[in-house]
């Protein structure tokens, strides 16, 4: 009876059947190397060119040559930041935010050890940065600004177009990790001052193992991988032709679904969030709920632990994710929740529901019905929860010998 419900689309998405169909021939009949002179290669070369144009269209890039295929979002992020540092060796400062994906944050932490200065912009309780503070950091020794377009945990959007304008005015390169944003909100890069953008195929119904770095024409660039002349020498390595073709088709489909995403999916997300919050006391939505992706809802359930909720949801066939410490293998709850100052009583109990164009009304109804009893059951187990609500002053009601 339990048809599985997948509400973890910010982690990864199902590859669309039409995408699979488009890529399959490139494993078998069109197996050639696009660099080859013969017909086997030429067909593949043409398919890659088409895919490049499909990506260009979704991003609103001015030129198809601005699209560089990579292996994943992380590679695109690393390429962008390391390129900016290599191309401008006199500039030693990086500006980013405290809530970036580990693909950026861990790279920046390593660069800090290598002697670079990294400014991580803090966020407020709703996950927003302070643009005045940002402006004050835009000095001539900054090599690059890297800010995510949409946050993977809360869906909160950063005003990256405005931030890119400000960086451009100060003569600073701007990169955005748009892995979560591409395909969910309209993007028109030629109208912005964004120099570099990362995207990842598997977040928009293409397979894993394919990504893109958008590189504005005229941007100074140093490749991460050197070798063959592929991607105009900007990313050596034989092209992942099936992946590239798949990503092209996925971008085309995402473009068609953009309106659906911002109407139907958004309505379902809002219904889910309102439905749960109306039925579960001591719960709230995190992030900037007025300015976020249409598919993401992140709800903090106080006095319960996220992994326990996920296990119980999973038993009912419902897939979601959590910012709790226990799901990550680290001992701290998610850095995004901590950066927003979400109290510990709630940070361990955050659950992210991320929808897609495949999500249906029936699924949302089932999840709205499933969540309240699970939270109630776990709260009954919790020493912080009394008969009908949290114990008054939970930290005092529960008196460990050490903390």
């Amino acid at each position: 009876m339990n048809v599985p419900i997948y509400l973890d689309n910010n982690a990864t998405t199902r590859v669309d059947a039409r995408v699979v169909e488009a890529m399959l021939p490139f494993f078998s009949e069109h197996f050639g190397n696009p660099s080859s002179m013969h017909a086997f290669g030429r067909q593949v070369g043409a398919a890659i060119k088409k895919a490049r144009q499909q990506v260009q269209a979704l991003l609103g890039a001015a030129h198809e040559s601005e699209i560089v295929f990579t292996s994943c979002g992380t590679e695109s992020d690393s390429t962008a930041i390391l390129s900016a540092l290599k191309a401008q060796p006199e500039r030693r400062v990086i500006i980013t935010t405290a809530v970036e994906h580990p693909a950026i944050l861990n790279l920046c932490d390593w660069l800090e050890k290598e002697g670079y200065v990294v400014h991580k912009l803090p966020v407020d309780r709703k996950g927003r940065i302070d643009l005045d503070q940002y402006r004050s950091l835009l000095t001539p020794n900054v090599a690059i600004v890297s800010a995510m377009w949409a946050n993977n945990e809360t869906g909160t959007l950063f005003p990256v177009e405005e931030m890119a304008e400000m960086a451009a005015a100060a003569g600073i390169m701007f990169h955005t990790d748009a892995v979560q944003a591409v395909g969910k909100i309209p993007i028109d890069l030629k109208k912005t001052r964004i120099d570099m953008l990362s995207l990842s195929g598997h977040k928009l119904h293409a397979p894993k193992g394919i990504g893109v770095l958008y590189l504005r024409r005229g941007s100074r660039f140093r490749p991460l991988l050197r070798g063959g002349h592929q991607e105009r020498g900007r990313r050596a390595g034989t092209e992942n032709a099936p992946g590239i073709v798949a990503l092209g088709r996925a971008c085309e489909l995402a473009m068609e679904a953009l309106e659906h995403e911002n109407t139907v999916v958004k309505r379902l997300r809002d219904k889910l969030e309102r439905g749960i919050l109306a039925r579960v006391p001591h719960a709230f939505a995190t992030g900037d709920t007025l300015y976020r992706l249409p598919n993401t809802s992140n709800i903090a359930f106080e006095y319960v632990e996220g992994e326990a909720i996920l296990l119980m949801l999973n038993k009912l066939g419902i897939a979601a994710s959590s910012g709790s410490a226990c799901t990550s293998g680290s001992l701290e709850p998610s850095h995004v929740m901590r950066a927003m100052g979400i109290p510990y009583t709630a940070a361990h109990g955050t659950i992210r529901f991320s929808l897609s164009r495949e999500t249906t009304e029936e699924e949302i109804d089932r999840v709205i019905a499933a969540v309240p009893p699970i939270v109630a059951q776990l709260r009954k187990l919790s020493p912080y929860w009394g008969e009908n609500g949290p114990r008054e002053n939970p930290e005092q009601a529960f008196a460990p010998t050490y903390a």
């Binding site: 632990e305 187990l381 020493p383 529960f398």
Partner: protein, 302 residues
Amino acid sequence: MWEYTEKVREHFFNPRNAGPLEDANAIGDVGSIKCGDALRLMLKVNPETEIIEEARFQTFGCGSAIASSSALTELIKGKTLDEALKVSNQDIADYLDGLPPEKMHCSVMGREALQAAVANYRGEAWSEEHEEGALVCKCFAIDATLIEEVVRANGLSTVEQVTHYTKAGGGCTSCHEGIEEILAKVCAEKGAAQNAERQAAPACATSAQPVAPTAKSGLTNYQRIRRIEETLEAIRPQLQRDHGDMELIEVQGKRIFIKLTGACSGCMMEHATMAGIQAKLIEALGELVEVLPAHLLDKVSA
């Protein structure tokens, strides 16, 4: 998703003995909401026989924390307090057919709650050094704090040594970068401390008295050894509780040689134990000393 055993899943979905116990006469609270897991263990102990007649728990935490709590209550029910205290965190993990290395702390929490509850019943104060760092070696579940302590206590300088002392890094080797960072950090601190000592040296020299290397604490040799012995006596009951013991073999200036015996000898936590003894001695003597295993006596003094 973690690879939980069937037993863990079963105890999570159908926890035994969950909920408050109204007439409990022994309560142990450990953890905190900040850490992400907290456990209250409630026991009804028969005052005549000291048998645990009823055990219930309330837990805020992940699947394995709830399962470990449930397993703990099943393990200790019907036992006397002394028998129950013999339940180790490994027993809890074994009862559940094992826990993922990242989750072993859940079973440790269970064992600590038990100790806290027994101490509560007996009217004793109970405290446990509880510091847990970021997990470095996932193969053997060794965290940064432990590695740092062992590196510091034994003056380790290579990843290979760390692996020999703690097992960390001996599996998939993917944590070697993390271990190198800890080594570099401790090494840098040591360098800074030595520099400070050197700078302070002239000030000592002006006091005109040639300072004997052992007299830093202002104690005579005899007083100093007495104090070392007193400190070790204070630690001894903790080791004996785990069926271990120790013996003071030799004091050579800053080097104190100790032999761990009984269950402590050959225990995988031997080096952490030594580090703990060293920390207590440094505190008691007010000087930096190094605690070394007795078998190094010949090598070091040679």
